[in-house]
């Protein structure tokens, strides 16, 4: 039986975590992708390597990704599929457990590995342990930790795009609006380099110091929970156990102590740099390169040094 991926997109292309989910799904069977919204995104999905078929719907109830109608649609499609997957994004985490319960199966959240069709590896306790779990359910409903799978290539495929059937909209909720920050910087979960600031930044004004270095590197900007709670950075910048999970080539943690909840979101980065004035800070225990000192002195120096070629 084929497997179905519910993909996130930006109106024209699938997100990188969605392509990672397609890569995970490819280990389980022939991959079909469900795209809700813009037709351009469905066309883009058809190009992704390894995709055999794209199901597309522009129907109104799905436009804003409301969990109730999207889950109803997935349940209507479920008989044709052995596995239903989505990235462990805000959208996937919202919808997939609902789908699982409607199918009377236990959702398998945030998988970091596929062992076989029934068996998956998933981090627990903020990534301090990895559990290998085998599902006894007849169908698997899964969210995928994108950072653990190399994304399928954006091109190379040539799948057919078909209209998805429609399911009854339960009509339980409505979308009122969104405040989505526009940014020229790369998306946090897709960036090759991430520069994150912590509580030590002291203000949103001071976060410009992070942005300056990030822009020299073409990097995304992240933050610790403490920085987000204090209002120095927006909520979607939070990296960690209960924020975003990232695994870039380079992660630079600035004025971040390295609490387990933060490490959970970035310790799989290839190279980690820590800048902190406390040489005992736990962040140094995971850092490849540590620089001890005052960030307000070191970060401008770093920006200047990066400007030299």
């Amino acid at each position: 039986m084929a497997v179905l991926v519910l993909a996130d997109h930006d109106g024209s292309a699938l997100t990188q975590p969605s392509r990672s989910t397609i890569a995970a799904a490819a280990k389980l069977g022939e991959v079909h992708v469900l795209v809700l919204g813009a037709a351009a995104a469905a066309q883009a999905a058809a190009q992704v390597a390894g995709v055999a078929k794209v199901l597309h719907s522009e129907a109104e109830p799905y436009a804003n990704g409301l969990a109730e109608p999207v889950a109803a649609l997935l349940v209507a499609l479920a008989p044709n599929y052995s596995h239903l997957l989505a990235p462990a994004s805000a959208a996937g985490k919202n919808v997939m457990p609902r789908v699982a319960a409607l199918l009377d199966v236990q959702v398998i959240s945030d998988i970091a590995g596929v062992v076989d069709a029934d068996t998956f590896v998933r981090p627990i306790y903020a990534g301090n342990a990895l559990a290998t779990v085998k599902s006894a359910d007849p169908k698997k409903v899964i969210t995928v930790r994108a950072a653990s799978f190399d994304p399928a290539a954006a091109t190379g495929g040539s799948a057919a795009v078909e209209a998805a059937p429609s399911a009854d909209d339960p009509g339980l909720s409505s979308f009122l609006g969104a405040e989505i920050a526009k940014s020229e910087r790369p998306e946090l979960t897709a960036a090759r380099i991430v520069v994150s600031g912590g509580r030590a930044m002291g203000s949103s004004e001071n976060f410009k110091i992070i942005e300056g270095v990030a822009d020299k590197l073409g990097a995304a900007v992240g933050a610790s929970r403490a920085a987000v709670d204090a209002g120095y950075a927006p909520n979607d910048h939070q990296v960690g156990q209960t924020g975003k999970i990232v695994a870039p080539e380079l992660y630079i943690a600035v004025g971040i102590s390295g609490a387990i909840q933060h490490l959970a979101g970035m310790k799989d980065s290839k190279v980690i740099v820590a800048i902190n004035k406390d040489e005992e800070a736990p962040i140094f225990s995971v850092a490849d390169y540590g620089l001890v000192g005052d960030l307000f002195k070191l970060m401008p120096e770093l920006e200047a040094e990066l400007a030299k070629k």
Binding site: N94, A101, G177, N235, D236, D288
Partner: protein
């Protein structure tokens, strides 16, 4: 309106968990246990709704071993009115908990159930959505703001690019994110008062729910350890290493 607030007993967030030597799970004996932090936020939100006159009664529920009474007492000390313990000693997966809660919803008829978005032990992020599905209710997950809006509930949600706002028909499910509120500490007089508040005890069988797990844990391992690297002496040295040794910039 009446509120139901489920609370989970978990290993305290400050504990560095250790994987058991035999690979069957993590060490939980003699480890500090607490209420899941997201559930504290859920209790706090419920209490604030009651203080605003929106909620009339708050029922705190915990599913698990007898010791979960401690977490129910904490919720009662924060301001919940009474408790229900669904006593069970084995593993309870989110689907099973959602089924237990559905059975309690049928008995209690709350108009709103507020849950934490995620338990910090299994990190599943699922029970609220699963309960909403089983009840056929609307869900407002990862909430950073909850307002009663006539006969609807307006929920601001933390999503990937920022925030979005949805309107839910009641009854509904809300799951809490970190920025919804800052939970209060229970005062000593309230802790004393909480001792007198009633906690009802039921078993999954009393509720007619089969809680057999669907997932078998084959093994639990420690993730690969990262080696601490070296300290560099200057910004120049750092940039040189990143360019010429790690080759990442």
């Amino acid at each position: 309106m009446k509120l139901l607030v489920p609370v989970k007993r978990v290993v305290d967030y400050n504990v560095k968990v250790r994987v058991k030597a035999d690979g069957t799970g993590v060490e939980t004996a003699n480890v500090k246990m607490s209420m899941n932090p997201f559930d504290e936020i859920a209790v706090e939100e419920a209490v604030r709704l009651k203080e605003k006159g929106v909620a009339t009664e708050i029922v705190a529920v915990s599913c698990g071993p007898t010791a979960c009474q401690e977490q129910i007492r904490t919720a009662l000390a924060m301001g919940a009115d009474r408790g229900i313990l669904v006593e069970h000693d084995g593993v309870l997966e989110p689907l099973a908990v959602a089924k237990l809660l559905k059975a309690l919803v049928a008995k209690e008829n709350p108009e709103l159930v507020i849950l934490g978005k995620q338990a910090i032990d299994d990190d599943m992020n699922a029970t609220g959505q699963m309960l909403a599905a089983l009840l056929g209710w609307a869900q407002g997950t990862f909430a950073s703001k909850v307002e009663k809006d006539g006969d609807k509930l307006k929920v601001t949600r933390e999503v990937d690019g920022g925030l979005e706002t949805v309107s839910l028909k009641l009854p509904a499910i809300v799951t809490t994110d970190l920025r919804l509120n800052e939970p209060r500490y229970a005062s000593l007089p309230n802790i004393m008062k909480a001792r007198k508040k009633p906690i009802e005890n039921v078993k999954p069988a009393d509720l007619g729910v089969d809680v057999t797990p669907r997932l078998t844990v084959l093994k639990v391992e420690e993730p690969a350890k990262r080696q601490a690297g070296k300290k560099v002496g200057s910004v120049q040295e750092l940039v040189d290493k990143l360019r010429n040794e790690a080759k990442v910039i």
